[in-house]
């Protein structure tokens, strides 16, 4: 017995267009606002976004300024997170380091979502041979490790943020395509699709104008979930040297540059950027959870 959908048999009085949709929208926001998980996640993400935008203004020191006389200084009141092996302020680098990752990860996820949704719509709508061929290609892509693809792309395209965006977008697209395909398979059995065919609608119209709006829920959820993965993947690629390139103050790069020094007791240039990665991933996942709950009706 559901509640909101109890059919009263009553038509809403002539209300302005989209009233119900707006009410549903409002309800979703109310749900989000009342979700502590979502709010905490959004709060943390907000702090990182501020860091990304106003990085240099907020940072106490120039994140690029080296100081060979004060390398690997332990955290102190001068340098809260200490300094790295060339004497740069770790705290400043962590703050400014939010920028690249917060551009690259969402852009990559967006690219993956757009490609994935299109593929999911096409395979789910046509099924049959189209689905078989595209799905096998997708499977093949899924079998290639991100890192291998990263090496290939770096070699072919040269290292840049754009390369990272393309690599991650291409890797994510198949995963998203699968989720969207499943939703489309269900949706295409709805009779409004048959009704569209009975008006001689072209396939692209049916897919993108009729079906797409009805699968936006899963697409939104998939986007936020993938965003969390993207943050982690960007950091991983950077750590391995295939991602954002030094001397950019990227977190993954920082970890890469200093992890060999941990055994010497210099933990701070590694721990703080690593923590930043972890906290950002958790924050995004908390947001994803909140959104998933708000969309599952």
């Amino acid at each position: 017995m559901s509640t909101a959908s109890v059919d009263t048999g009553l038509p809403a009085p002539a209300a302005p267009a989209g009233d119900a949709e707006r009410a549903a929208q409002r309800e979703r926001f109310a749900l989000l606002r009342s979700s502590k998980t979502f709010l905490v996640g959004a709060g943390i993400l907000g702090i990182f976004v501020i860091c990304a935008i106003f990085g240099e203004a907020l940072a106490p020191d120039d994140p690029y300024a080296t100081n060979p006389l004060n390398d690997l200084a332990a955290p102190s009141s001068d340098h809260w997170f200490g300094t790295d092996r060339v004497g740069r302020d770790v705290f400043s680098r962590v703050i400014v380091g939010a920028r690249d990752i917060l551009v690259v990860a969402p852009a990559a996820t967006l690219l993956g979502t757009v490609i994935g949704t299109a593929l999911g719509l096409i395979t789910g709508y046509y099924r049959g041979a189209v689905d078989d061929v595209v799905s096998r290609v997708i499977d093949a892509f899924l079998a290639i490790p991100v890192v291998i693809l990263g090496i290939l792309a770096i070699t072919a395209l040269g290292p840049s943020n754009l390369t990272v965006i393309i690599v991650i977008g291409v890797v994510f697209a198949p995963v998203i395509a699968r989720t969207v395909r499943a939703a489309v398979l269900q949706e295409r059995e709805m009779e409004y699709v048959a009704a569209a065919q009975l008006r001689n609608e072209k396939a692209p119209y049916v897919m993108f104008a009729e079906i797409l709006p009805n699968v936006m829920g899963p697409v939104m959820v998939e986007f936020t979930v993938r965003l969390g993965y993207a943050v982690f993947t960007v950091a991983t690629l950077s750590f391995l040297g295939f991602g954002i390139q030094p001397p950019a103050p990227d977190w993954g790069v920082q970890v890469y540059e200093h992890y060999g020094l941990i055994s010497g007791g210099y933990w701070w240039p590694v721990l703080f950027p690593a923590l930043a990665i972890g906290i950002l991933v958790i924050a995004v996942n908390m947001i994803a959870d909140g959104i998933a709950k708000a969309f599952e009706r």
Partner: protein
């Protein structure tokens, strides 16, 4: 524990029960002081349209409300025990031992991952039986509900059984604990008429054997009339009329009950004899504040007093009560629809068919099997004619519709012709004129209308694509179209979810009629609707046909509805045409034995029993149809080897009346004066 039950305790007693749901932060009254008593061994029916609170009453009786529901006041006593005073543990114990509930959807009521045997046995292990004993008792119980191979069924999973079989299993589980009260919530709504009939027979037989008290909830007056001793008519969370079934149905004393009974096409009602009456307006909103009578806004007999003072439950004699100030006048409720028959303005066709199929075949390939959904079907549809298509589920009705529309491509060699020109099998290969000529109204408007689009966009798109009009010309056509389906244009910017089921179906009809079609397929267009709305939609379809001369292919499992609208009727079984003829010819003897069985399964609102013919067993598989006459395995008039070995031709037995049976018209006319004998041996 509550006090020991009194000796004469009612099986169920609801006392001024108020239930509210919290929706968007507000408590809304759903049940408004429902009082009823079910005596021991009595069968009580609760009838009403969707949204009036039937299911809520059933759930509340077990204190089993959704999380946002609460009992605001009133009392619930089951077998003398006060449910509201009980601890949760005691309520669970009561549910485990004394009350059973059977829900509408049998497949979702069983756990798909557990074998039937284990699920039935669980009822007994809960009561303390050992596992072996529980297994034995489970088998016994399945035998009691007339499952022929209980041991085999126990080993299977729910998805391996048909809906009717699953419902039998659930009834077995419900009766297994010999409950003091059995609650049946629309137990047969999702089932075919023949299966429904069997399940109802079973419930009746079981009720006798177990002498349980029953609360039977249904939207169907026919089913209630057949199954219950007393009936309560529920409207907007209030019992407005109550009494013995015969009394209430023959002599209704509340305008709502009078209106409901008038909505059903029954007793051979036909469109050329008169429109169906409807109930105007809508159910009051959930939790609306109603000062006077709950039905006042829709009542044709309403007076000032009705809006000011709620009538008490008045005794009208014969144990019959009505909550109406003017109950003695209830039956003079003015008709909403003029009783005049729907007159056809468009000239009746000259008999040349506009749509015809020849040798239509469709084979689906499934797991390496060939499944023949439609087999060599030849049909004609004349201008302005309604051809009714009946048959159990799986008979190929919907497949045939999809084949005609081009949504499914027929096998090679099948022919569909429109106005003498052959149509491509695929919709994408038909030109615009051909596409607009054949349209459909689907069963479920929720699935047929894109929920993200406004009504305006849905209809406008159809006009643009099918007619090619744009701009103001399109807008004015849209207005005309909305007007012709009696859709209030003020609602045109709404989305489907904001409209009631009947209004949504009107939009679907408007869409189908947007391109001035020659033929409209109506695939169960009213089976998702309440009876009062159904009547209005049937009237609308009849009027549109009279106005525009459109031909209908009308698919329905409700034979009363088919009879009301159809000029001719085609009966399908396993994808084959079994009988074809004028509606009145098909509905009267002589009939094909399958049609005879179908008709005998229809419960009637007047509750008069008629000899019922039970179809043995399940519909055979399409992948492996029986030899000879495909119906021979279940035929009540089975002759002998000839039926098994030789498939009868579709022959014309009377002018315009065809069937596929070895019997002649005279032989069946003779035979059908008496009910058929029960078949002893089932054919191999």
């Amino acid at each position: 524990m509550s006090a020991a039950p009194a000796a004469t305790a009612h099986a169920l007693e609801l006392d001024a029960l108020e239930v509210a749901y919290r929706v968007r932060g507000q408590w809304r009254r759903v049940l408004r002081g429902v009082s009823l008593q079910i005596a021991e061994g009595e069968s009580y029916g609760l009838v009403g349209e969707s949204g009036c609170g039937k299911s809520t009453a059933a759930f509340a009786a077990l204190r089993y409300l959704p999380r946002n529901g609460r009992v605001s006041s009133g009392g619930i006593r089951v077998a003398g025990e006060d449910l509201l005073a009980m601890s949760d543990a005691d309520v669970r114990r009561l549910r485990a031992t004394k009350v059973s509930m059977v829900y509408q959807n049998p497949t979702s009521a069983l756990n798909p991952a557990i074998r039937i045997g284990e699920q039935v046995a669980e009822v007994f292990t809960i009561q303390g039986s050992s596992e072996d004993e529980a297994g034995d008792r489970a088998r016994e119980m399945l035998e009691k509900v007339q499952i022929s191979d209980p041991a085999g069924v126990m080993r299977r999973y729910p998805h391996q059984l048909s809906g009717g079989m699953n419902q039998r299993v659930i009834i077995a589980m419900a009766l297994a604990k010999d409950p003091a009260l059995l609650i049946l919530d629309e137990p047969t709504t999702g089932l075919d008429a023949t299966v429904e009939s069997e399940v109802l027979d079973l419930v009746a037989a079981m009720r006798k054997e177990f002498s349980s008290s029953v609360l039977f909830i249904s939207h169907s007056l026919e089913v209630i009339a057949r199954m219950c001793d007393r009936v309560g008519v529920l409207y907007a969370g209030r019992v407005v009329e109550e009494g013995p079934v015969g009394e209430v149905f023959d002599n209704p004393r509340h305008p709502y009950a009078v209106g409901l009974l008038r909505c059903i096409p029954r007793g051979g009602a036909r469109k050329d004899k008169g429109r169906l009456d409807t109930i105007p307006g809508f159910l009051p909103g959930l939790g609306a504040e109603l000062a006077g009578c709950v039905f006042a806004d829709r009542c044709g007999l309403v007076q000032d007093i009705c809006r000011e003072k709620e009538p008490d439950l008045l005794d009208v004699g014969n144990d019959h009560t009505s909550r109406c100030h003017f109950h003695e006048k209830a039956q003079s409720l003015p008709r909403v629809e003029s009783p005049a028959p729907v007159k056809s303005e468009a000239a009746d066709g000259d008999g040349t068919p506009i749509l015809l199929t020849r040798n239509m075949r469709k084979t689906f390939h499934q797991d390496g099997h060939d499944v023949r959904a439609v087999e060599d079907l030849t049909l004609e549809l004349g201008e302005g004619e309604t051809l009714g298509l009946v048959g159990e589920s799986g008979s190929g009705k919907t497949t045939l519709a999809r084949l005609l529309l081009g949504l499914t491509e027929p096998d090679e060699g099948s022919i569909v012709e429109l106005d003498g020109r052959q149509l491509a099998g695929k919709i994408s290969k038909r030109d615009r004129e051909q596409v607009r000529a054949v349209q459909i109204v689907f069963q479920n408007p929720d699935a047929a209308l894109n929920r993200r689009f406004s009504i305006h966009r849905i209809i406008a798109r159809a006009l643009t694509m099918l007619v090619g009009t744009k701009g103001t010309a399109m807008e004015s056509r849209l207005q005309d179209l909305a007007h012709s389906v009696r859709f209030d244009v003020r609602l045109i910017r709404q989305r489907p979810a904001q409209l009631s089921g009947g209004l949504k179906q009107r939009v679907a009809i408007a869409r189908a009629f947007a391109g001035e079609p020659r033929v409209v397929v109506c695939d169960e267009p009213t089976s998702a609707l309440d009876v009062s709305v159904q009547a209005a939609i049937l009237n609308l379809l009849a009027e549109l046909q009279a106005e525009k001369g459109t031909a209908y292919l009308f698919i329905s499992h409700d034979l009363g509805v088919v009879r009301y609208l159809s000029d001719r009727i085609a009966v399908l079984y396993l994808g084959r045409l079994m009988e074809l003829g004028d509606a009145e010819t098909v509905f009267g003897p002589p009939q094909h034995p399958y049609t005879e069985a179908l008709l005998s399964a229809v419960p009637q609102a007047d509750g008069k029993p008629r000899p019922r013919i039970r179809l043995e067993g399940e519909i055979p598989s399409h992948a492996d149809p029986p030899s000879g006459c495909v119906f021979h395995t279940r035929c009540p008039r089975y002759i002998g080897d000839i039926c098994r070995d030789e498939e009868p031709e579709l022959k014309e037995v009377e002018p315009g009346h065809h069937w596929r049976c070895h019997y002649s018209a005279e032989e069946l006319r003779e035979l059908q004066q008496t009910a058929p004998p029960q078949r002893e041996e089932s054919a191999p």
